[in-house]
Amino acid sequence: MTSSTTAPRATGDLGMTVRYALMSTRLAFRNTRFLVVTVALPLMLFLLYANLYKGQDAGNGLSVVAYLMVSMASFGCIGAAINTGARIAIERQVGWNRQLRLTALPGHSYLVAKAIVSMLVTLPALLLVFLAGATIGGVQLNLSQWLGTGLAVWLGLIPFAVLGLVIGFAGTVDTVQPISMITYLGLSILGGLWFPIEMFPTFLQDVAKVMPSYWLADLGRSVLAGDGVPVNAVLVLAAWTVVLGVVGVLSYRRSGAKV
């Protein structure tokens, strides 16, 4: 390679990463099971709850329905982000990752691409639950509140995207489904997405407060209520991102010896 090709090569890598992420995202949407679990389920639960709690006040200036909207959107998004891990495990199993290592896509670009996929596949759950909230749920917010809350929840999903990578490289095709299901439900329930943590016994409330899922919903609700971005939530989510990132890189390296 001559030096003149260095710059185009770098942009080439970026272009390739984005292309791979988009192609990979398209494939994820083809999976019916994925759409049912990550979009239909949270949407249905939200509609069910919205019907039950219509018109009730959550006490902090929020309607219960708005509160539930953030919880259910978070629930669906977490599932979507974690599901990327299941797809990675399957792709590893069938030898696609070995095949990918015979392309010009570098290993780190692959990881970035899959993290982008995790973030992109959360969008249907987020948008549809918010849409259902605005229409059927009767949640009334101005445009900047909608955008701010959506963006807060979406960016708060970064540690979950990394968690998807960890699951994809630590799991095998046989273990990845139970692992991701347990993680998904565990995070959702313990993080108070299904029931407010005030209904938990005290020790479980303490457990909830180390869960990234709790802080994800907390972040969304704070922004929704106009309380701004809570520093605690950002710190906890950032800490999870760092820890999971380290675990992810380690398990990626370890899996490289096997795939």
């Binding site: 390739m16 292309r19 791979y20 069938v94 990918l100 015979l102 392309t103």
Partner: protein, 309 residues
Amino acid sequence: MTTNPTQARDGAAVRLTGLDKRFGQVHAVRGVDLLIAPGEVVAFLGPNGAGKSTTIDMLLGLTRPDSGTVQVFGSDPVTAVQAGSVGAMLQAGALLPDVTVRELVTMFAALHRHPMPPARAMALAGIADIAGQRTQKLSGGQSQRVRFALALIPDPDLLVLDEPTAAMDVQVRRAFWASMREFADTGRTVLFATHYLEEADQFADRVVVLAQGVVVADGTGAQIKSTVGGRTISAVIDGVAPEPLGQLPGVLGVDRQATRTLLHCNDSDLALRALLDRFPQAHDIEIAAGNLEDAFLELVATSRQEATR
């Protein structure tokens, strides 16, 4: 891509030096040295577990050798792969699910800097007719041809095929080798692994025999055939010592098995004529094609003896 930018400084397409790899207790590859010149079509022949796939994985940079070096067109394998100089058809596994053949090939092409147009790769691999099918629905032979198309996508100077014809029926196999030859004839280097001597002999200029992780023979197909592809004459020959039998033309070695005598031959026709001519009492004669596995093991034993000598 032309061959010029990737020509090795020393001219070799592939240079393996002292390649060694263990997996726990298994010593898969034991000190393989191999030099392949650009344009050569080389077969890697050996029984299962001979270390062919491990050697290929190291050649492609998929597995790191414990010791020894790999050079592909003068650079390390990962660099060569990323530059698009190497295309490979990996063994078995499944294809990426939930995509059509065309999508898969197009997606793969998007991950290369100077890919061959997907339509051309599919035409060369003979899969244009199944381009719209989902990968899960393909037969074994069709999947293999899709893998071949993926291997062609980089428009590589070196094409590596790991047991490419597994799961192919005879006709598909023939068509496959025809497309491989067509591609090789444009001056590309090809290395393919097989455990069929016939395939190696027919389609390669050079056959490298690997057994128990060691290169035990290296030559033209005809040379290898005479070494490992011989037949065995089994007969009851009363009252004859092994020595004169061993001296018959076409006979390489003699074994006793109860009442029967086994003559290992590199030319069984010649040996049989001489046998009946000189020892007409020979009866209950059977001729069997040589067992390749046995021949491989014999080669391993011979190469070890030579090494300790």
